[in-house]
């Protein structure tokens, strides 16, 4: 029996206790106090995560069972924990960023009638995300994987009076379900073949699994990750998911939940990396997603949608780095991205809050630099980090991926540079349009005001993180090595060469300069091309036509279901069965003419019958 440190138990116990107190005590009696137990729990979780980070950093690890979840004969599915480098390095980011966004949400959601509901769902998500990171088998991972999806559903649809929010919630949930099909199938295949899905056991036998099975598993994992992490074929739900409150967009749809897919790939990496060609496939999917989303981000007008496409692009970048074999770089970017993207979303949330709306477009902002200096500062720092400005977090993590791309050479290098340039372009465009100048087309928010301290302080902390976490790269690499299977070396993070750094910087500078030219030197350009080419704008808003594909699929499915359920089942089959009673009735009506009801007639029938029986008996 492995000793499980109480910090691990607390990771589950504290949020569960907070949820129980919140649901049964504060929600009915003092809904406006629901955040108190929740915030306390966040603090506990952060402390535990810090302890576990140190635990893992010192080279220790843990893989143990808490209880047996499902049992059948001698077989069982354990409910356990796995404390190792991958899980805890992401856990540290998730717990910290999550806790700060909880704090921000106290200010953001103040006065909302659903304040208690929001915090309970938000914290349930936090719990699920933590559980996902420290699961020790695929079934348990699937449990939390689905739970985060459900929390996302209820939080995207949080303002259910808005039709767009309802639609987006349904779209997100159904898309994720389609993607989860992959994970569930993979888990079932593993179960059917090995009756065990513990990571530790699978890592040990990874070499012995037939390549065909591994390839199938790998493709299914990628499919699942493509849904959750919004990679190319299935990414379209993420931009629409911005209908939720801003803290939700920041925590779930930027920093944590959407990275679960990448996390799944990293978790499964020992299984994936032995399939020839599969890592390259992941890299291609990542690159296509990243470039496509960067182009689309540059054409959006809604602030949160710009950021959503940017998230899609960076998730693609992580998959790209992962596919090139740089597991460490992928996880590193996952962590840094969590910080700077959270800041960007929270800043967009502050603007929306100031406007009293759930989201704002570029036409409603402009020149806010002086009126909201702190927000501007935070946004600037995060934007620099995203763009890859030297010494910021994004710079280090992106360069680690670029390094891998250059090592791979060819299309990968080109794609890496294109992503760097694109990121710098769209984030600079957003920065300039929002905070600099005021264009004739823009009608800025009336009376813009800085957010209350409870909102701005967490953002300041996160901004500090957006600068500084990049310096921890080597420590992260060391952490990742802990618990990583020896058969698949986790490559150490080497400092990128100067060639790579300067190429990346040049690409980013090019992107930023392009954005400066198109937004500052030609301030109305962004509106002019839309006016002149409405068809082009529609094309971009339609994601170059890709959005029509899922819509067509859903339409076809609904049509088919209607044909089966209404036409075939009710109008044909059930009608035929009901009709058969009519046939029976007609036959019996014909027969009933013989029954005159007269007693003597009946008696004659009895006589005839008796005579026939007697005759039969006599003749036999």
């Amino acid at each position: 029996m492995i000793h499980i440190p109480s910090a691990v138990i607390l990771l589950f116990a504290a949020p569960l206790a907070a949820l129980a107190v919140g649901f049964f005590v504060t929600r009915p009696y003092k809904p406006e106090w629901t955040h108190i137990p929740v915030l306390l729990s966040c603090a506990v979780v952060c402390a535990c995560a810090a302890y576990l980070a140190a635990f893992v950093y010192s080279g220790r690890g843990l893989d143990g069972t808490l209880f047996r979840w499902m049992v059948a004969g001698d077989w069982d599915v354990p409910f356990g924990v796995r404390i190792d480098g991958i899980g805890v390095s992401v856990l540290a980011m998730v717990s910290l960023v999550g806790a700060l966004i909880h704090l921000y949400a106290v200010g953001y959601m103040k006065g909302d009638p659903g304040f208690a509901r929001f915090f309970l769902l938000f914290h349930l998500f936090y719990l699920s995300m933590i559980g996902l990171l420290i699961s020790n088998n695929y079934v348990q991972l699937y449990l939390f994987w689905e739970l985060v999806g459900v929390c996302s559903y209820f939080l995207i649809g949080f303002w259910m009076h808005k039709p767009a929010a309802r639609r987006a919630a349904l779209q997100a949930f159904l898309t994720l379900r389609v993607a989860d099909l992959g994970l569930m199938l993979a888990v079932l295949i593993l179960m059917g073949l090995y009756r065990n899905t513990r990571f530790a056991a699978l890592y040990a036998v990874a070499g012995g699994i037939p390549t065909g099975v591994l390839a199938l598993l790998g493709v299914l994992f990628v499919w699942a990750a493509a849904g959750k992490s919004a990679l190319f074929p299935l990414y379209f739900w993420l931009p629409d998911a911005m209908e939720g409150p801003s803290p939700v967009s920041a925590l779930m749809h930027a920093a944590t939940m959407v990275t679960a897919g990448i996390f799944l790939l990293v978790r499964s990496w020992p299984l994936i990396c032995v399939v020839p060609g599969l890592p390259e496939f992941i890299a291609v999917v990542g690159a296509v997603t990243a470039i496509l989303a960067a182009v689309l981000a540059s054409t959006q007008t809604d602030l949160k949608r710009i950021l959503a496409y940017s998230t899609v692009s960076h998730l693609g970048l992580m998959a790209f780095g992962l596919g090139l074999g740089q597991v460490t770089a992928g996880v590193f970017h996952l962590v840094t991205h969590g910080f700077f993207k959270a800041v960007l979303f929270l800043c967009a949330g502050i603007l929306a809050h100031a406007a009293g709306k759930s989201t704002v477009s570029v036409s409603e902002v402009g020149g806010l630099r002086r009126k909201m200096p702190l927000t501007f500062l935070c946004f600037l720092v995060a934007a620099l980090s995203l763009g890859g400005f030297p010494l910021t977090a994004g710079f280090y993590s992106k360069d680690a991926i670029l390094d891998a791309a250059f090592a791979h050479g060819g299309w990968a290098a080109a794609a890496g540079l294109a992503i760097a340039a694109g990121s710098a372009f769209y984030i600079s465009r957003m920065l300039f349009l929002t905070f600099f100048g005021s264009r004739p087309e823009q009608k800025p928010i009336e009376h813009p005001h800085e957010a209350p301290p409870v909102m701005i302080v967490p953002v300041l902390f996160l901004s500090a993180g957006a600068v500084s976490v990049g310096w921890l790269g080597r420590g992260l690499a060391r952490m990742l090595g802990s618990g990583w299977p020896k058969s698949v070396p986790a490559p150490a993070l080497e400092g990128p060469t100067s060639v790579v750094s300067s190429a990346g910087l040049a690409a980013a500078a090019l992107g930023a300069a392009g954005a400066y030219w198109l937004t500052m030197l030609r301030p109305s350009w962004d509106w002019q091309w839309r006016r002149r080419r409405p068809g082009l704008e529609a094309l971009f808003f339609d994601d170059l036509g890709w959005r029509r594909v899922p819509v067509a699929c859903v339409t076809a499915a609904v049509w088919f279901a209607d044909k089966v359920g209404r036409v075939l089942d009710r109008d044909c089959w059930d009608a035929a069965i009901e009709g058969s009673t009519g046939v029976c009735r007609r036959v019996s009506e014909a027969g009933s003419r013989l029954a005159t009801g007269s007693l003597s007639d009946s008696l004659w029938w009895v006589m005839i019958g008796a005579a026939a029986l007697l005759a039969w008996a006599a003749l036999r």
């Binding site: 979840w69 499902m70 049992v71 259910m160 569930m184 059917g192 499915a557 209404r566």
Partner: protein, 479 residues
């Protein structure tokens, strides 16, 4: 232990039913007796799990080997618990209904017959109880149902009776064949062994047809939506919660032990039927515009899952399928209860009739969302455990059917969530109907707390329940 203790189990509610018929306080009588039966069922756990009634010798027979023989193991007992529990729920749920005493008696008689079905070890006795179930259910639908109740009750009766004829013929053929082969007249399910060859297949098919109507398997399912739609809410709860389980129970209890070899040979075909159920039920559910019909078709899909697991004849599949029987009883029971409460308020069941109920009825919304999530197989709630274990069973024997199952899991969200949204979130509903909907009162909310608590408990820690189910089921596992 003597058979008398088991006899008491099914006689207790029957006595309650008689008392309910002859006194004025029908609802109190039914409450007391259903509670007593439920408590008594809990007491039986100890002796049942120690195999107290699983004696190999049959008692003295009446004629042709027919004997009064009851048996109770974990599988029987858990289904009896489900019956007793849901009867209590139904009685409390219809507490404020102004129904005559026959209504309250009917539920007790139904409970008695159902417990009899699950306890019977003699095939003839099993058949008698099987048919006895029809009578109270027929009256519950036909007398206390909605507008089209008579038609629905007749349809329900004719369909199930049609199946029962084949069940009876199959049983008689089975027993005579057994007599011809061994020279022993017996109806004891434990002792009976089915013939092989064509005769075996015919007998198997006849009995399976009888069970299939109850499950219901797809071409024979059209009685279900009508019966559910027209039945009173509590009737739907019993119908979906327990009556459908009798079919799968028949497969487990009768066909598997009697035809150990044949059922393995027919596995691909049975699995195909179950897979068709899963997908077809889900597709039909997607096309429904009436909440009760939608849930009825979702039952078709869910029972397909149970059968998938049960057919696989692996430990995981058998346990998962059986657990799913209980899970579906709780989850769908809760859903029908909620629709019933909604109907009591708004007198409509259409998806488009309501809108934005979350404002006026937050608890109704909460519980409906909770039960919907359990129904679509959200891990952590009960539905997932059953479905997942069933599918593992399938994965171990016929992996290609796993895809069908996973497709079904996916599609369940595609019909359940739009329905949930359109009733509880969307604002497009008829404002006048939604405006008269009030939230659940304490009695109703209390019931749902219990049901939802059970969903959560089974979802997070099903191991104890699985341990109860295990002994009989593991005995069925193919070597």
């Amino acid at each position: 232990m003597s058979q008398g203790w088991l006899t008491l189990f099914w006689v207790l509610p029957a006595v309650g039913g008689l008392i309910a018929l002859i006194n004025r306080q029908g609802r109190w009588t039914s409450l007391v007796f259903s509670l007593a039966t439920a408590l008594y069922g809990l007491l039986l756990l100890g002796p049942a799990s120690s195999g107290a009634w699983h004696v190999p010798v049959s008692s003295s027979s009446l004629a042709f080997g027919i004997s009064y023989l009851l048996d109770c193991d974990g599988l029987s007992l858990s289904l009896c618990w489900l019956t007793a529990f849901l009867t209590v729920v139904c009685v409390i749920a219809s507490w404020n209904k102004d129904f005559s005493r026959g209504y309250w008696a009917a539920f007790l008689f139904l409970e008695s017959a159902l417990i009899g079905v699950f306890l019977a070890r003699d095939l003839f006795l099993f058949f008698v109880f099987w048919e006895a179930v029809l009578i109270p259910m027929f009256f519950i639908i036909g007398l206390w149902g909605m507008e089209g109740r008579r038609h629905a009750a007749m349809k329900f009766f004719l369909f199930t009776f049609f199946g029962s004829i084949f069940l009876l013929l199959g049983s008689i053929a089975l027993v005579t064949r057994h007599h011809a082969a061994t020279g022993v007249w017996t109806w004891d399910m434990v002792a009976l062994k089915g013939p092989s060859g064509t005769a075996g297949i015919l007998i198997f098919a006849a009995m399976a047809l009888g069970f299939a109507v109850k499950i219901p398997l797809v071409p024979l399912h059209t009685w279900l939506p009508d019966a559910h739609t027209e039945a009173p809410a509590a009737g739907s709860v019993m119908l979906a919660g327990v009556l459908l389980k009798m079919g799968v129970y028949g497969f487990l209890r009768v066909l598997w032990p009697v035809f150990p070899q044949l059922s393995l040979e027919l596995m691909p075909w049975l699995m195909l039927l179950a897979g068709v159920n899963v997908v077809y039920g889900a597709l039909c559910a997607m096309a429904q515009k009436d909440l009760k019909r939608l849930i009825a078709y979702s039952s078709v899909a869910h029972l397909g899952f149970c059968l998938l697991g049960v057919v696989s004849r692996t430990p995981e599949g058998l346990l998962g399928g059986s657990l799913q029987l209980l899970n579906h009883g709780i989850t769908t029971g809760a859903l029908f209860l909620l629709v019933g409460f909604l109907y009591d308020r708004g007198h409509r069941r259409g998806l488009g009739d309501y809108g934005a109920l979350y404002k006026r009825a937050p608890w109704l919304t909460f519980f409906f969302g909770f039960a919907t999530m359990a129904s679509v197989g959200l891990p952590g709630l009960n539905g997932f455990v059953g479905e997942f274990m069933s599918l593992i069973g399938v994965a171990r024997v016929l992996p290609r059917f796993v895809f069908v199952g996973v497709l079904g899991v996916m599609m369940s969200a595609a019909y359940a969530l739009p329905a949930y949204q359109s009733v509880f979130w969307d604002a497009e509903g008829k404002a006048s109907v939604s405006a008269i909907v009030t939230d659940l009162d304490r009695r109703e909310a209390g019931l749902l707390w219990v049901l939802c608590g059970a969903m959560l408990a089974i979802g997070l820690y099903p191991a104890p329940l699985l341990r109860v189910l295990e002994p009989f089921l593991l005995g069925l596992v193919s070597r």
